[in-house]
């Protein structure tokens, strides 16, 4: 089964029965692929389907009239794309792949049906949504109250931790397809300043971001510097037995 990442995520919250697993399985209706940098969901469009990311990276963002863009979050394998859009019946944001991506489509009607048949699954998805919200909240704190260097450090650590949870990273580092423009739009910084900050962090011997790879040169020192506390990403144990 390829959507292990999602099953693992939800399984951490709710111990899923065989029946529930097969309902979850049944959600994966259609396999689709999208190419890098071509918008997948458009802000304002009303959606009938969400996606589960199988491979590749994507990001969700909002654009302002003056052309500025704020990236809300990056999505990595195992994450939902556009779940909120489906529930609110309208997309309040756009989604674009960073790399070529593979997804499976989840139809809203199927999802609501699944909830009706297996309430525990609804709870599990509610948990996943809460975790996503916790990440957005952390980004808010990051942008609102940390200076550029701390912000960058925190961001890279969070990404590393998330990737580690799905086997794509470690405390040593991770492969990262993001450009400095994307980083800037995610952190509320200019691309130019992103560059300067990365240099500073490199010179401080804490992280190196070069050639699509992030290396944590001093993980603990970086964690301390960024005041990074991964509690909001972890799940201690199944809440529903």
């Amino acid at each position: 089964m390829e959507n292990t990442a999602l099953v693992r995520k939800l399984g951490a919250f709710v111990a899923l029965s065989g029946a529930e697993l097969s309902v979850l399985e049944g959600l994966h209706k259609r396999r689709r692929t999208f190419v890098a940098a071509r918008e997948l969901v458009h802000q304002g469009q009303s959606d009938q389907a969400a996606y589960i990311l199988i491979s590749g990276w994507a990001y969700s963002y909002k654009v302002l009239r003056n052309g500025q863009r704020q990236i809300v979050d990056f999505q990595i394998p195992g994450d939902f794309l556009g779940l909120r859009s489906v529930l609110l019946q309208i997309s309040d944001h756009s989604i674009e792949p960073v790399t070529d991506i593979e997804v499976t489509e989840v139809l809203m009607t199927d999802l609501l049906d699944a909830f009706a048949r297996t309430p525990r699954l609804a709870t599990a998805v509610l948990w996943a949504a809460s975790r996503d919200e916790a990440m957005v909240v952390e980004h808010l704190v990051n942008i609102g109250r940390r200076d550029a260097a701390e912000r960058m450090a925190h961001f890279l650590l969070e990404l590393g931790a998330r990737l580690s949870l799905v086997g794509l990273g470690s405390k040593a580092g991770f492969a990262c397809p993001l450009t400095q423009y994307l980083l800037g739009d995610a952190l509320g910084l200019s691309a130019v300043h992103v560059n300067r900050v990365l240099r500073k962090l490199r010179e401080l011997g804490m992280v190196t971001f070069r050639e699509g790879y992030v290396t944590f040169d001093a993980y603990d020192r970086l964690t301390e510097f960024a005041e990074f506390d991964p509690t909001y990403l972890d799940q201690v144990g199944p809440l529903l037995k």
Copy 2:
């Protein structure tokens, strides 16, 4: 029934049956009151209960080691307090009343039971959580990509719109118990700058914030200025019939 605000909110998403309404009713176990400015939930504490706000204002926030504080959102009547904390089993933020508040307590076990018995309620709560997340996302855009004046304007408009939905405000204005320090911590600005920005907006003839009351002097011009689009707050009609 006093928790009309919540019923109205959820009812907008899911047409609730009599049975579902009574389950919802049954959630309101205990009525409690808290006094202003005394912390109600502490960051890091593990929670067994959430609250539904009946009257008064509260705010959720995170503190950094250096003492800085980022307010994530203000809660007004009809809003959940600490729903995310309950689902994640740990509070990633603190909550404090702005004014004296009345709440009803919702025990986690009751909530999960209610989900099991009435799946549509789970869907409705998932919707409410999505709406909260949409607000946080909008705050992120606000702080990340708007300058101080636009940010303040957008914030006041959103607050006005939310209060209007529960009958506590209009396009003319609303009663607002917030201090300039609270505004600053919510918007990622210093209190001093908040003051300057308010003066500027007042001199531009768009909003006036004086003596605990926000007056929209030119609602449309302000909306235009802040690029405020309330779509993310509204609900067009019940998704589940």
